[in-house]
Symmetry: C2
Amino acid sequence: MGSMKKIIECVPNFSEGRDLDKIEKIVTPFRGREGVKLLDYQRDEDHNRLVVTILGEPEAIREAVVGAVGVAVDVIDMRQHQGQHPRMGAVDVIPFIPVRNVTMEEAVELSKDVAKAVWKTYRFPVFLYEASATDPMRKDLANIRKGQFEGMAEKLKLPEWKPDFGEGQIHPTAGVVAIGARMPLVAFNVNLDTNNLEIANKIAKAVRHISGGLRYCKALAIALKERNIVQVSMNMTDFTKTPLYRVVELIRIEAKHYGVNVVGSEIVGLVPMEALVDAAVYYLGLETFSIEQVLEARIME
Amino acid sequence: MGSMKKIIECVPNFSEGRDLDKIEKIVTPFRGREGVKLLDYQRDEDHNRLVVTILGEPEAIREAVVGAVGVAVDVIDMRQHQGQHPRMGAVDVIPFIPVRNVTMEEAVELSKDVAKAVWKTYRFPVFLYEASATDPMRKDLANIRKGQFEGMAEKLKLPEWKPDFGEGQIHPTAGVVAIGARMPLVAFNVNLDTNNLEIANKIAKAVRHISGGLRYCKALAIALKERNIVQVSMNMTDFTKTPLYRVVELIRIEAKHYGVNVVGSEIVGLVPMEALVDAAVYYLGLETFSIEQVLEARIME
């Protein structure tokens, strides 16, 4: 058996959601490249922003991303940019997400390699964020981005906001970019057989990290008006440590207290295979199971 | 988004388990071929048999399999073959198994294409079996293979045993081969907290098709002596119609009747992603979920 192929996801956000010619140019480095799969790209005119999702081998991803950053620095002038979404750079943020056979440490390394190349090649300064952050202040993107493009020239002069790669000034037209590694997010919602939002609120509080619940769970309550029920809407920020089955079973237990039942759930968007395999292993009671037993996993060796 | 890549599994069985040179020659057509992944090959000296597992795109699989059959017809002389496993040909059986984006009808077509090529190229006669069978008598491999290599010359003279491809005689050294399409098998075992084999027997009878249970479940009871417990050992012959969760929940219910509990389970060998995703969807209560939401599934587009 060969060694397992490493697979990483990357979701770069570009500050161009309107000019289709420019968007095509930015996306070109992700097309037809061995080892890179362009999964999706979505532009938003109001946000004036482009979100690209790619998947592939770390080395190929690195080259493609550095290439696309070069195009974006060329074609986007942040001095002209307007849009509803907060932003600070022509490429605003580049998260790297380990998917298979890649550790978080390797994803952090990759993010730093890209950051270094982006600074050296384009003189585009970089803040490292999330798992790649060099300072707790820089973990949170919102913290870094505060002041947006228009405030960045002044912000970077502050010693505590010297970029991780770069000097005390922005790129004149491209601004500054945040690059880092983070776990995949799973958007997981659980529906309850009541229309009482207060109950959903209490359950959301019970299961989410911030108010005493599970470490890697963010949760809030929302009403599904059309169905006349309520939902606990969640972001699972590390399903390898807080698995989906744990949160749904905990919600079931909390709901019982109010005479309420779980009636269904949904996963919004993409989810790593492992998050579902974990649930199957738990509920089927599999004593030993390796993801290598999944036929499709073997194709990716 | 591109169209989804078709993936099929093939598990050809060759009548050579001892001569490593010949085995390497037989396996060569599966190596380094674009679109074909050699997952495994296991030889058994007592059976004097080689079982190869490959995965890939239908067209590439077709070419590789026809190539390997040619090698086997060349290097194996069934007149000299001895082994414990029943067999009738140098290549004994070639099942094609749909894995992703392939219908059973397409797998049947592929099996017939291979059968036709094998007969035309090597004058190696073929019985179509399982889902490819042209007659109910020919669905079951054991039925076709009865008489084994030594009895096949006479058997093929019978009008009802004229091969699907070929005439009323065997290949003088290679015999005859069975080729067909079937669903993936999942070997699924469920452990009980008793050492009473009679209870496992009753539960096996309750859940298996033949004695009144689930349509695509074969089951028998075995003792796990070292652990001092018993097991219901199963072959799930179509997990898309009889899913794993249904059989484990049914076993739980049957076991209750004897005051016995399910304490664990195992999947032996490979399993398609879909079988596990089905379990996750059921137990997490996912209201809508598409396998396209699985990140890794997108790589295979």
